[in-house]
């Protein structure tokens, strides 16, 4: 594997709008008086794995949430295959919001403790109107891909380990066959073997579907191994 190229993202300067891909253009976002993102550009082209690096508080997770269409930026915009995306979450048509999926760091915080793993995986399909049986069948197929046994699928989150629950979250993220997968420290709490397994599943998926991955990690070894290109977010303003 070749060493990733590195680029540093400046706060200013914009580029031409590339057509295919998911991109943030001059995106700014504040929480109260705290500026988190300040005119940030990031382009994710189909098939590539972009590593996103930066100190704590530099806005990596926030940028992932903006690109994941969960937050509307205060200024700037997100484009999807060259077309600007207006709004976020359920204000967007399913045809767009299901193209991007996020895998979060903590699977416990990202799953409903009342649902079985099978229902957790099938939830995004049910939410877009797929029938119960059809959703279950597709979920089972994905569960196998990520290495969840049928026995595990009947359990609820409290009865499985973090590694097993994160496998379910990955299956859920892939259930709509997204073109973009955003991994926000998704393997930070997993052991080396589970991490390598999930990375393998994601890489295979990328190859098959020509999907792009945004990889946020603090682990330099993982970044070097996995990312084809690394982008540095500058530290937060005023620090």
């Amino acid at each position: 594997m070749t060493a990733p190229t590195t680029q540093t993202m400046g706060g200013t300067g914009s580029s031409a709008v590339p057509s295919a891909g998911l991109a943030a253009h001059q995106v700014s976002l504040s929480f109260g008086r705290q500026s988190v993102l300040d005119r940030v550009d990031l382009h994710l082209a189909p098939g590539e794995t972009v590593g996103l690096r930066g100190p704590s508080g530099s806005g990596k997770s926030t940028l992932a949430r903006v690109l994941g269409l969960l937050h509307t930026p205060d200024a700037g915009h997100v484009t999807f295959d060259g077309r600007p995306v207006v709004g976020a979450r359920h204000r967007l048509p399913a045809a767009i919001r299901t193209r991007v999926a996020i895998l979060f760091q903590s699977p416990r915080a990202a799953t409903d403790p009342r649902l079985s793993l099978a229902d957790i995986v099938a939830e995004p399909l049910r939410a877009t109107g797929t029938g119960k049986d059809e959703a279950r069948a597709q979920a089972a197929e994905l569960a196998e891909l990520v290495g969840l046994t049928p026995d595990l699928l009947t359990r609820r989150p409290h009865a499985v380990s973090d590694g097993q629950l994160q496998r379910a979250c990955l299956a859920r993220a892939l259930v709509h066959r997204p073109a973009y997968l955003l991994c926000d420290e998704a393997t930070a709490m997993l052991d080396a073997s589970t991490q390598a397994h999930l990375a393998g599943v994601i890489t295979d998926y990328q190859r098959q579907h020509h999907a792009a991955v945004l990889l946020i990690t603090h682990d330099p070894a993982l970044m070097t191994r996995w990312a084809t290109r690394v982008v540095d977010l500058p530290p937060p303003a005023g620090s």
């Binding site: 997993l190 080396a192 393998g200």
Partner: protein, 336 residues
């Protein structure tokens, strides 16, 4: 306090006498309806002052249960057998398994054995500021009203927390800051034994290194640390010896450099191969359910060296400078 400083090169896993902690045949079972969870099985460990032992393994292998068993913090359906002799430099020796809740509460938790918890968000009292929590701890351990605030500032600075941030409530702290506050609370009474249960979860790399180095410095000052982690890089950075746990048992335990350079157990070798700076290849198959462990070696179903012999459980026997529980360990030629 005795200050025997052992360097990583001289430590072997049995070492000299006068261990601070000697765990003998510790087993933990949880009763769940008809099933029994085998969380920790026949565990033997010795920890000396100045030693940092890392217990590594995948999630659900029983490593956190070990830490909680030593502090009597397991839920009511847990059955703990075996012994864990603690010989603090001051005070009487005590068996942590048999001494009872009253003694644990009065003389052990916090005082003789500190715990850096896995989840600071649930370990901190939400209605008190960091300063109140820290000063309360210090005053309970003999510091005066006048001297506690000064010591609190110093300890906060030690763990990398701005003393001004002590005046915030836990919900006003970031995950990393809360973890540092929880670490400060564990270090404040200066316990001779520290149990650190995944102390670096949720921290970014510089903070991970800072926290690990802090634990290392505690050891160099004469304390002993049991570091429980899934992060092999963390173990490699600071541990004197590393114990690998698989399906409730220690399967290999040896000095850190030897474990990383020449693992003997196929599971250890597989785990190391999964590292992104090595082969980045997962261990084939899945760990067994702790409610339904195979009769023989628990790793045999995933192991390419397994034979019929593996239907009988392997004992954790001496192997060079360490211990390994395997009928077919990889060549011992590299390990003297």
């Amino acid at each position: 306090m005795t200050t025997t400083v052992l360097s990583a090169t001289t430590v072997t896993v049995d070492g000299p006498q006068h261990a601070l902690l000697k765990v003998e045949g510790l087993s933990v079972r949880f009763r769940l309806g008809d099933a029994t969870v085998h969380a920790v099985t026949d565990l033997h460990l010795t920890l000396h002052p100045g030693e940092l032992l890392a217990v590594v393994g995948e999630s659900g292998c029983g490593k956190s249960v070990l830490a909680h068993a030593l502090l009597g913090l397991l839920p009511g359906n847990a059955v703990v057998t075996g012994r864990a002799h603690l010989r603090p430099p001051t005070g009487d020796p005590v068996d942590l398994v048999g001494c009872g809740e009253r003694h644990l509460a009065r003389a052990v938790r916090g005082r003789a054995v500190g715990l850096v918890p896995q989840s600071p968000a649930t370990a901190l009292t939400p209605v008190r500021t960091g300063r109140r929590l820290l000063e309360e701890t210090l005053r309970a351990h003999g510091h005066t009203r006048r001297d506690a605030p000064v010591v609190a500032d110093r300890i906060a600075a030690d763990v990398g927390l701005d003393p001004n941030d002590l005046d915030r409530y836990p919900h006003e702290l970031s995950g990393g800051m809360a973890q540092r506050l929880a670490t400060a609370l564990a270090l404040a009474p200066d316990p001779p034994l520290l149990l650190a249960d995944e102390p670096t979860t949720g921290l970014d790399r510089p903070l991970v290194d800072h926290t690990l180095d802090l634990l290392r410095r505690r050891c160099d000052g004469g304390a002993a640390v049991l570091l429980i982690t899934h992060d092999l890089a963390a173990a490699r950075r600071v541990a004197d010896t590393v114990a690998v746990m698989y399906a409730s048992r220690i399967v290999e335990h040896r000095p850190t450099a030897a474990l990383f350079d020449a693992p003997a157990h196929p599971y250890t070798a597989g785990l190391l191969d999964a590292l992104p700076d090595r082969a980045f290849r997962p261990v084939a198959g899945h760990p067994p359910m702790l409610t339904d462990l195979p009769a023989g070696c628990a790793f045999a179903p995933r192991c390419d060296r397994a034979t019929d012999t593996c239907h009988t459980p392997p004992a954790l026997g001496r192997d060079g400078a360490g211990r390994v529980a395997c009928h077919h360990p990889t060549s011992t030629g590299a390990r003297a």
